[in-house]
């Protein structure tokens, strides 16, 4: 039995076999020529044969899929043996280019053509690049890129997962996620929590475990055990037995002594919102509006936006829905708003700041929100991302007022906003802590980088101190203005049951998370009193480091281990 430590990011104890995610297909070098002993005819025949295999594989997958996924796979399968694509590749082969490089270049020019056509065609541009990578993999005799296919469920091992991988990740086939790279805030972690899959990141050495090996994964403790024994079998069984209890939330977030902490959901569209309402969410604490804008070359119309927002509001009649205005930039670039050539996008024109370089988009969005809010029964609050100063907060509040929005607020993600929360909150009604970015900025550590995972955790006492300062600032601003200015948390931190208790102890009034985590957070919260939570918050703040803070708090919450959280 051998143990492999990592960082646990999504709870669950499970035993299964490992399947490795193939490495992405590397670009054949520019100018790569046909091998001396290969004729263009042989190369063209090899290309056509490889394309035929890819076509058949995609067609088989299409036969097993359903709905929209099936239609996309059918079209993608046809692209693999498309005459236009293959003809332009063969032309390059006849001019002496290697088959791999030829299909790479032919795919690039077709993809660009589709991209320039915009709309539906532009969405298909990525499919042709996928087909191209599959053909090159086939020519090289290496596994096809993407999540492996298997008849039996498996534990997926990868270096890291990209947002695009979510689309093809079938939760019925994947038991758990383990990555060698990535941090607690990486896409892998976010994907795993939203799908309710056990996951751990930064598990160095996991790539050396052979495909098909049986392992035990504990996504809370952050542990992979090779050749699991009776102890692990028992733990996995206990988790399976507990799972039912941890998936039901009664829609009433509270501590043991009745201190109410509404538990809200983070959603990205109407589908999420409906699912969150079904899971008992008491409202929405973060409605990300990017889905309306991403993969678009132009701004959607006010009518289109308004209809999309209303669809989310309608899932929560009579309840609170906190909408975040467009948060473009950094890892979410938008061609009509952000500058892709910025040397340091995380510190660039992103979030609220895009209103300085492209004025008008935010005002039109606020107008669409006000229109949707007026037509729905939800209690709509609106907040701006990446606010750094009190002046920005005041200006955002006046933009909201002009659009007819009653409850403006700000995201606290930049340390300056936390440090000056008293004045930032004077002109707005509430604040919501985005702990992912707040941690990245407080620790100067990129969220996506595996080697920085230890820095990049909201358990860092410095981050907890910023949360505390935000609450203190809100108390000052409330006293000064005579209006209560609540501070919520909508980052990944709220989904960690132990940290959720600490946040409540620090004075946070609502917690918003991926809907899958609601039941686990509620189950732990109701085992502590507000005074217990405050004591745990003091303990965490006094820790010399993140690891100690987490360990000390967890040691005082034995319920976590009982539930496998």
């Amino acid at each position: 039995m051998q143990n492999l430590p990592g960082v646990g990011v999504s709870p669950g104890r499970i035993i299964g076999t490992i399947r490795h995610m193939p490495h992405p297909v590397s670009e054949p070098p520019a100018g790569e020529r046909l091998a001396a002993d290969t004729s263009p005819e042989t190369a063209a025949a090899a290309l056509k044969a490889a394309a035929g295999v890819v076509h058949n594989n995609l067609k088989e997958r299409a036969a097993m899929a359903s709905g929209d996924g099936k239609a996309v796979l059918e079209a993608t399968a046809l692209m693999a043996k498309d005459a236009m694509l293959l003809k332009s590749a063969v032309k390059l082969i006849n001019a002496g280019t290697s088959a791999e490089r030829a299909i790479w270049e032919a795919g690039a020019s077709v993809s660009e053509m589709l991209h320039n056509l915009g709309g539906y065609m532009a969405e298909r541009a990525a499919d042709i690049l996928d087909v191209r990578a599959r053909i090159v993999a086939e020519l090289r005799g290496v596994p096809a890129p993407g999540i492996p296919t298997s008849d039996t469920p498996f534990i997926l091992v990868a270096e890291d997962l990209a947002p695009a991988d979510t689309a093809t990740l079938d939760p019925a086939k994947v038991l758990a996620l383990v990555t060698s790279g990535g941090g607690p805030q990486s896409h892998t972690a976010i994907i795993a929590r939203s799908l309710g899959l056990p996951a751990m990141v930064a598990a160095r050495g996991v790539e050396q475990i052979p495909d098909g090996a049986e392992v035990y994964v504990d996504g809370a403790a952050g542990l992979v055990v090779l050749d699991p024994g009776a102890e692990q079998q028992e733990a996995a069984q206990a988790w399976a037995d507990n799972a039912a209890a941890l998936s039901a939330f009664d829609g009433n977030g509270t501590t043991a002594d009745g201190h109410l902490v509404p538990l809200l959901a983070n959603v990205g569209g109407a589908k999420d919102a409906t699912a969150a309402a079904a899971l008992g969410a008491q409202g929405v604490g973060l409605f990300r509006t990017e889905f309306c804008f991403l993969e678009r070359d132009t701004e959607p119309s006010v009518e289109e936006q308004s209809a999309a927002y209303k669809a989310v509001f309608d899932a929560f009649p009579g309840k609170k829905v906190v909408l975040r205005t467009l948060d473009a930039g950094a890892d979410k670039p938008l061609p009509f708003l952000t500058d892709a050539t910025e040397p340091n996008p995380a510190l660039g024109v992103r979030g609220y700041r895009t209103d300085w370089t492209t004025p008008g988009v935010l005002e039109r969005q606020l107008f669409a929100v006000a229109q949707a809010a007026a037509a729905s029964e939800a209690d709509v609050w609106v907040m701006a991302p990446m606010i750094s100063t009190a002046a920005e907060a005041a200006r955002f509040a006046s933009l909201c007022q002009a659009a007819g929005i009653q409850t403006p607020g700000v995201m606290v993600e930049v340390p300056s906003a936390a440090l000056t929360a008293g004045s930032v909150l004077r002109n707005v009604n509430f604040a919501s802590l985005g702990t992912n970015d707040l941690t990245q900025y407080a620790m100067a550590a990129d969220r996506q980088l595996g080697p920085l995972a230890e820095l990049n955790t909201p358990w860092q006492p410095a981050v907890l101190r910023l949360v505390q300062l935000s609450v203190v600032g809100s108390i000052e601003a409330s006293a000064e203005t005579g209006t209560v200015k609540p501070v919520g948390v909508c980052g990944e931190a709220a989904a960690d049951p132990a940290l959720a208790v600490v946040l409540v102890g620090l004075g946070v009034s609502t917690l918003s998370m991926t809907a899958r985590s609601l039941a686990a957070v509620a189950a732990v919260l109701k085992t502590v009193t507000l005074a217990d939570a405050q004591e745990l918050a003091r303990l965490a703040l006094s820790a010399p480091g993140a690891e100690e803070a987490r360990a000390w708090v967890r040691a005082k919450l034995p319920v976590l281990d009982e539930l496998g959280l």
């Binding site: 239609a71 079209a75 236009m84 694509l85 539906y120 065609m121």
Partner: protein, 92 residues
């Protein structure tokens, strides 16, 4: 050369699923079939069996296109494909 005109009936135009169904059917014909928007020169016609060519053609619902083919079975092939274009494939 035998040719036919047809009006695109599919709601989403000649892309997405309708394009896939049409390209597949065109590929199954015994003759090579080309497609162009009506009024465009014959030289600009593209391979009807290529889904990528169909997508770049950008034919929307209501657009009129010209199908051309030559050789044995050309007429039957064109008739079959016209029927397909004039069916709302999004509803199938």
């Amino acid at each position: 050369m035998p040719e036919r005109t047809a009006t695109i009936a599919s709601r989403s135009g000649l892309h997405a699923r309708p394009a896939a169904l049409f390209a597949e059917a065109a590929g199954e014909q015994p003759v090579e079939v080309t497609i162009a928007k009506v009024g465009e020169p014959e030289d600009d016609a593209v391979d009807a069996a290529s889904i990528l060519s169909l997508m770049t053609l950008g034919a929307e619902r209501g657009d009129v296109v010209v199908l051309r083919a030559e050789g044995d079975g050309a007429d039957a092939a064109l008739d079959a494909l016209v029927t397909l274009l004039e069916t709302d494939l999004d509803a199938v």
